[in-house]
Assembly symmetry: C2
């Protein structure tokens, strides 16, 4: 293990164990260089990384102190569907149910904020883990933002994967809720109508433009989102 990681872990351990409580001043860089018999750069790297982790705060002259807990955020990993399924040890497969370029309608405004008559691509897609339906996807792509999607058949990968590779990286908002399965979705997922489903709704932006809106519906008893607390 690199020395800077050893220093980082040692300090982190003392903070998390409560040995160095919030507000505690931790040793100066020059003290740690003596303790570890290394150069200041190495100590500095470790402490700088701990600042990024939010565990410590540093001020010139005043020294380095253990942070007081601020607002905590849960960090949730949202995986690519293929990876999610393969992580379960099951073969991944998807089916494009429908693929329609069309004009934006009024009711689309709840999903994408588009001018009336703008071109969108509407995609419905089912994802499978083995033979079992895993997730139902309903997507709108803003063709003004991603014109090359119009020619795409999504035979080489599902729309989400294709978009991630094609479109510049973006910001997004997720809304997560529970919903009773409507007949159409129940049939797609082979579950009874009215079953509890986990719905993840995502709007993706890039440089002020809305790229895509997608609704993922998972059978509620077969899918969990996991989030870790992070110290902010």
């Amino acid at each position: 293990m690199p020395l800077h990681l050893r220093i980082l872990n040692d300090v982190e351990k003392r903070i998390l164990s409560g040995e160095w409580p919030p507000g505690h001043r931790i040793p100066f860089e020059h003290e740690l260089t003596v303790q570890y018999g290394c150069s200041r750069m190495t100590v500095n790297k470790a402490l700088t990384d701990l600042v990024k982790k939010g565990l410590i705060e540093r001020r010139r002259k005043a020294g380095t102190h253990v942070s007081f807990p601020h607002v905590q955020f849960a960090v949730m990993e949202i995986h690519d569907l293929r990876r999610e399924v393969q992580a379960l040890g099951l073969p991944y497969r998807y089916e494009i149910v429908s693929l329609k370029p069309r004009r934006a309608r009024r009711e689309d405004n709840a999903r994408l904020d588009l001018a009336a008559g703008a071109s969108v691509l509407e995609i419905v897609c089912d994802h499978f883990a083995g033979d079992r339906p895993f997730c139902h996807e309903e997507r709108l792509i803003n063709l003004a933002a991603v014109p090359e999607a119009a020619k795409e058949t999504f035979e080489e990968g599902p729309p989400g994967t294709w978009l991630l590779g094609k479109v510049p990286w973006s910001s997004a908002e997720h809304r997560i809720r529970a919903e009773a399965a409507k007949a159409k979705i129940a049939s797609a997922l082979s579950i009874p109508t009215g079953s509890a489903c986990l719905v993840v709704e995502r709007t993706t932006h890039y440089s002020g433009l809305q790229i895509t809106h997608v609704i993922f519906t998972y059978p509620g008893d077969r899918h969990e989102l996991v989030a870790q607390f992070a110290h902010g």
Copy 2:
């Protein structure tokens, strides 16, 4: 602005704009030292930080490449229930339904990893927004970790709030899923049995010890979790 941040931002901008798409090889460290007229350490710091951000991947000999995004890190703020309700402009109220110190049973192991016979405090609690049930809470507190909870009546605030004030540095894991309301929960939330509910399960640790496990059940149609996307 420090040079290493300028380098980081320059590279990040090219990746986010799509100029350097996923898979693209970015200049070698020694090329960037020439471009920026600086030492390798400075370039290395910038690129190492980009690895931590998940934007690039580096392999010896092969060089540095823009990552293919496989994971999205969505950052979710976990709200205090009182704040959540008051944000809706409704008066907040809670009721302790039951409060039982008891010995850990075998079936508790799915919630807290305790020795058989360990002392736990079992709390059931309902949260209201106005007159409407907002959330049903079922909690176990590990009394070995938080002995002072044994005497607490939770009259001054719900258990979650009390714990936040007592146990400063906690890490936690959240599991989010959809579930059909069982009879008991349906009655607590005044919804039909079998309704889709959003379930947030949280295990909280402190210095390696499990502090508490809690299951929050929300009526699915009345509650949404919102998470902001971050790159991965």
